[in-house]
């Protein structure tokens, strides 16, 4: 591969490299925030790619007004720009959802390390399964079952609402 070709397609090359960085960060990094950053990288790289494909050097932005009667060949391709805009909207909503999940997870587990979170969640589930089994019923204290009460609310109100939610819950009916 000669250098000139790389130079001519520098935007595309940069986009692919960025995509790779984003992908590996999203996949391999354990920190949730960095995962989100990786995801943003990945999407932005694709938008960069799209935008650079749509751009034709020396042409005007595709805004047609009554005053100018330029032919279509005078403008750059408008479709990629539209796609990029749509893509950004999607990307933003995904980022928002992931961030909100991150916040919830941090509140619950006090860590951003996904591996640790998964491990803690398993232990959590094991505790609640053990508690739901008939054997462990007698020893169980109120408010330890995160799974059942958590359906109502997260965060600080959890301790309180959990007791409220406990009553209609089928597992606790006979207590």
């Amino acid at each position: 591969m000669d250098l000139q070709a790389l130079l001519d397609n520098r935007a595309e090359a940069a986009a692919i490299i960025l995509f790779g960085i984003g992908l590996t960060t999203l996949l391999l990094h354990r920190n949730l925030l960095k995962k989100v950053i990786g995801f943003s990288f990945m999407d932005s790289a694709i938008f960069l790619f799209l935008a650079s494909e749509g751009y034709i050097s020396g042409r005007a932005a595709p805004i047609q007004s009554a005053a100018s009667d330029l032919p279509a060949s005078a403008f750059i391709n408008p479709l990629p720009a539209g796609l990029v805009l749509t893509g950004i909207v999607v990307s933003v909503s995904v980022t928002a959802l992931m961030l909100s999940l991150t916040v919830r997870l941090y509140e619950r587990f006090h860590t951003l390390d996904l591996d640790r979170i998964v491990r803690l969640a398993r232990e959590d589930a094991a505790v609640s399964v053990g508690a739901a089994a008939p054997v462990g019923k007698a020893e169980r204290k109120a408010g330890t079952n995160a799974d059942a009460g958590a359906a109502v609310s997260a965060g600080k109100a959890e301790q309180k609402s959990e007791k409220d939610a406990a009553l209609p819950d089928p597992e606790r009916r006979d207590r």
């Binding site: 995509f19 984003g22 992908l23 999203l26 996949l27 949730l32 995962k35 995801f39 990945m42 999407d43 694709i46 790619f49 799209l50 494909e53 479709l79 990629p80 796609l83 749509t86 893509g87 999607v90 909503s93 995904v94 959802l97 992931m98 999940l101 991150t102 919830r104 997870l105 619950r108 587990f109 996904l114 979170i117 998964v118 803690l120 969640a121 398993r122 959590d124 589930a125 609640s128 399964v129 739901a132 089994a133 008939p134 995160a146 799974d147 958590a150 359906a151 109502v152 609310s153 997260a154 939610a165 209609p168 819950d169 089928p170 597992e171 006979d174």
Partner: protein, 495 residues
């Protein structure tokens, strides 16, 4: 244009509007609204399928917006799309009917409307995947589907479901990223986003031999991206958590609708955009075969070692997705037909497993471990029978649709070269055996005389009705296999 050609567009629109409506309605209202809309969509999609089948089977192009075909956006539908839409609304309706009790019992009252909002959004996205002919539109709705599915997982808001949702998002975003990159590269190569002009360009590229390597990369990116999203074997790590952490209807919807949406999209792209020959040239079909075979075996192995009923069912999804992809990898006509049939059967039986399983668990006191569930089916025989029927279908025993799909897969495999056929059949047999091992063992445990005495006498006629309908669908797909297959073949020809 006859009036019925508007059905697809308006069903998507209706679901989008319903999503907005449900979010402001009180829970009871949202419940009623979503059920009504789903029933309506089921009815009209079925009607559309019948009309399309009888009108000769030619696909309909439905222009959206001002620009005609190569530039604008359009829907394209034949009988198969309508059948899939009907199937999806049917399963969703059953899931909401059967899971309604759990939604009410589990969460606070104010949140149930949101659940229905999510479901409506999901349906809109699913139907757009099915109907749309535009690759980028498909991508956008793909993401909407992923987002609403993730929200369905974390709906319970427990630590476990939040973690599962996060893992789900991470891998799905990897899949989306790969898919989007593939789409963008394809657009770069051909300048089209509508599937049919795209297909023509790709065909001419394949004939001229230009951009062979790029085309291979694109095919691989799109295929692998969708494989990741539909949880084919090596990308399945998020499945056992995601499919078992949520509420029962979430599990059912996720395993039987969301993953199927991606598969339908992949099938559509394989058929309309790439065509089968470039796929074979790029060797991606062998990759799929490999994934499918290993998925069928390892998914079942995972299910055998699973600790609870829900987790076992979730693991079995990995194996069953392997079955569907085996059909896809075996190529057009026979293989695709098998894949589609199994897709439908699996959608019905897997959601039935989750829904009736949840009812059984509820009857046995809430524990998911097998010991706690011993004898649960005797407390709730209706759900026990439904669960057993679905499990039989998973194994592929007679008088359930699972046998038909196994038969179709087998005969599709025999159409391929000897090594492929031999390995496919061998894996099919092995997987059947493993399926017997865990499904029938679980069935035996459920029906054994258990030590469960805490029979909750809660009657749930809606759930019984929904589970019964799904079980009936599983059995009828066996009895009426022949006309169904004819319809699928006819639809596939116009796909």
């Amino acid at each position: 244009m006859p009036w019925w050609q508007n059905i697809p567009f308006f069903s998507v629109l209706l679901f989008l509007l319903s999503a907005a409506v449900c979010s402001v309605l009180p829970p009871a209202g949202a419940r009623r609204w979503s059920r009504a809309v789903l029933a309506l969509c089921l009815l009209f999609s079925g009607l559309l399928a019948v009309l399309l089948l009888h009108s000769g089977g030619a696909p309909v192009h439905y222009r959206m917006g001002h620009f005609p075909a190569p530039w604008g956006n359009e829907l394209r539908f034949g009988a198969l799309e309508a059948l899939l839409a009907a199937l999806f609304s049917f399963v969703m309706l059953c899931a909401l009917l059967a899971g309604g009790g759990e939604l009410r019992g589990r969460a606070g009252l104010s949140r149930e409307s949101l659940y229905h909002t999510l479901c409506m959004l999901l349906m809109a996205a699913l139907l757009s995947q099915v109907y749309s002919n535009d690759l980028f539109t498909c991508y956008v709705f793909l993401e909407i589907m992923t987002l609403s599915a993730c929200a369905l997982i974390v709906y319970r808001n427990s630590g476990r479901s939040l973690a599962a949702g996060m893992r789900y998002m991470v891998l799905n975003m990897v899949g989306s990223g790969l898919f989007l990159l593939g789409v963008v590269l394809l657009y770069d190569l051909t300048g089209h986003l509508l599937m049919e002009p795209l297909g023509a360009s790709v065909a001419s590229l394949a004939v001229s031999g230009a951009y062979r390597r790029s085309l291979t990369v694109i095919i691989a990116l799109i295929t692998v991206g969708l494989c990741v999203k539909s949880a084919l074997f090596p990308f399945h790590t998020w499945v056992p958590d995601a499919y078992s952490a949520g509420a029962a209807p979430s599990n059912a919807i996720l395993s039987s609708l969301v993953s199927k949406g991606y598969i339908v999209l992949l099938l559509k792209i394989l058929l309309r955009v790439f065509g089968w020959n470039p796929v074979v040239l790029s060797r991606v079909d062998l990759l799929l075969l490999l994934f499918a075979w290993s998925g069928m075996v390892f998914g079942s192995l995972g299910a055998i070692s699973a600790s609870g009923l829900t987790r076992m069912t979730a693991w079995s999804s990995v194996a069953q997705i392997g079955y569907i992809f085996l059909g896809l990898a075996l190529g057009p006509a026979e293989g695709f037909r098998a894949a589609l049939f199994h897709l439908a059967v699996h959608a019905c039986s897997k959601s039935l497993l989750f829904l009736s399983g949840a009812k059984l668990r509820e009857a046995a006191g809430g524990g998911d471990g097998f010991r706690a569930l011993a004898g649960a089916a005797r407390l709730r025989p209706v759900f026990g029978v439904c669960w057993t029927a679905a499990a039989f279908s998973m194994v592929g025993l007679p008088f359930t649709g699972g046998l038909v799909s196994k038969l179709l897969l087998g005969s599709a495999a025999l159409g391929r070269s000897l090594p492929v056929a031999a390995v496919s059949l061998g894996v099919l047999a092995l997987s059947t055996l493993l399926n017997v091992r865990y499904f029938l063992r679980a069935a035996l445990i459920l029906w054994s005389p258990g030590n469960v005495a805490s029979a909750r006498s809660g009657r749930d006629p809606a759930a019984a009705l929904a589970c019964g309908a799904l079980a009936l669908a599983v059995v009828l797909s066996f009895v009426f296999a022949s006309p169904l297959l004819e319809a699928v073949s006819a639809g596939l020809a116009a796909f």
